[in-house]
Amino acid sequence: MSALLPPWFKPAAVVLGALSLVPFGVIARARNVTTTSPRIHIIRDMDSQEKFKAQAESALFADGRAMRPPVPGTVARGELMDDDHLERGLDPDGKFAATLPAALGLADDAKLAALLERGRERYGIHCAPCHGLSGWGDGMIHQRALLLTEKRPPEDGMQWVPPTNYHSDALRAYPVGRLFHVATHGIRNMAGYGAQMSTRDRWAVAAYVKALQHSQHPEMQ
């Protein structure tokens, strides 16, 4: 029987076969490590179109942002914010309101319960890190800040003021409108959360803080 393949085939196949595994090894490694080099997109096609997505850069504007703020002096439809109670937590006489605004549409207890539940969730996201889940001013950020102030030299200039504990007579006397105002604009060391939470969510949080205060200070009957 004559040979089917030339005599050089076997060694060639062994060498080439071994070499052909090298790229797979390189790829297997690339699949299992992280890299700071940009993603490889071989066929770019329409992957990166000449358009701006949210929060993209644009050289056209001095601040480098493609997203533009509203033109000064303009008000978008529905954003006039002319309801003092809803937007600023104020009574008609200009004092902080002790009631929730009618504009929240809390027609029945179920709606109020839903608002409080929403408040519980948002409180957990935005307030509990400092004020603690029960409002005693013992959140994780506070604990961490205490550790850091202990560890760091005083010349570092870090001064930590503990977050406010809601369960004092002074804080219990806050009308809900004032809690809303603080949630919106901040107070002393606390930043405002007007940009991070919607108006309704800030009311929900204010109402929930009131509920928290009651929960930790039950009245004997």
């Binding site: 890299t35 700071t36 993603r39 601040d63 969730e121 991070q196 939470m197």
Partner: protein, 231 residues
């Protein structure tokens, strides 16, 4: 010797018989194998699992999700506030960093770009890690409010010192979940919980059973039409 074992019968019975010289046949066989090799190489090497997964760009500030989320327990939504209401999950403005860092670690050199951004009003040039092609439409709010958790697409961000892409974000990968979403579904209130597991336990079966129930109860029917994502 069976009839189909032609290579044992000698070259004259092969296709084209003796017309091909021995060397030509050797080269031809190598060429055929080479074509197969190239196919395998492209399928393996040009897959998004190779080209995209593992991307972990260096950021202007060494922000650690492992520290802030994993240890301090910050919710994803403390910073990424628009994820439940918008298509885009925002990178937070510098103000959000300064909520704490105007008081905490005020002298840290690592935080200088943050303070500078706060002073000057210039954006911190964060580098985007997860970026879909511009022809794909994706809405975060549609997913997190219908029971898809952050972890399904972004992985265990709460353990990442440096965020890296862990899923291919390819069309096949999207479709896989749109066709069989059960194993990823969870109560929407648990969307940002990186460690959520069904009450029955953290097993694939329990997840699938929960997802199946949730899908039926909430009429979760992910569309797979072209125009869902390419509009």
């Amino acid at each position: 010797m069976s009839d189909w074992m032609i290579w044992k019968k000698g070259p004259e019975t092969l296709p084209f018989g003796k017309r091909f010289d021995l060397h030509v046949r050797g080269v031809a066989l190598l060429a055929v194998l080479g074509v197969g090799w190239v196919h395998l190489l492209v399928a393996y090497g040009a897959s998004p699992k190779t080209t995209d997964v593992g991307y972990a760009p260096e950021q202007p500030v060494p922000y650690s999700h492992a520290m802030h989320v994993g240890q301090l327990g910050l919710d994803c939504r403390y910073c990424h506030t628009s994820v439940e209401t918008g298509a885009h999950a925002n990178v937070p403005p510098t103000q959000t960093c300064m909520n704490c860092h105007s008081k905490v670690l005020t002298g840290s050199p690592k935080l200088e770009p943050v303070r500078e951004s706060f002073r000057t009003g210039k954006s911190i040039p964060w580098v985007r890690v997860h970026d879909l092609p511009d022809y794909a439409f994706f809405d975060h709010s549609a997913h997190v409010t219908r029971g898809i958790g952050c972890v399904s697409c972004h992985g265990r961000v709460d353990t990442m010192e440096v965020v890296s892409q862990v899923q291919p974000l390819s069309m096949a990968w999207c479709l896989d979940c749109h066709r069989n979403p059960e194993k990823h579904l969870r109560p929407p209130a648990e969307a940002t919980n990186m460690r959520w597991a069904p009450p029955e336990g953290d097993t694939p079966d329990a997840r699938h059973a929960f997802g199946k129930r949730f899908k039926a109860d909430n009429h979760i029917n992910p569309p797979t039409d072209c125009s869902t994502c390419h509009r």
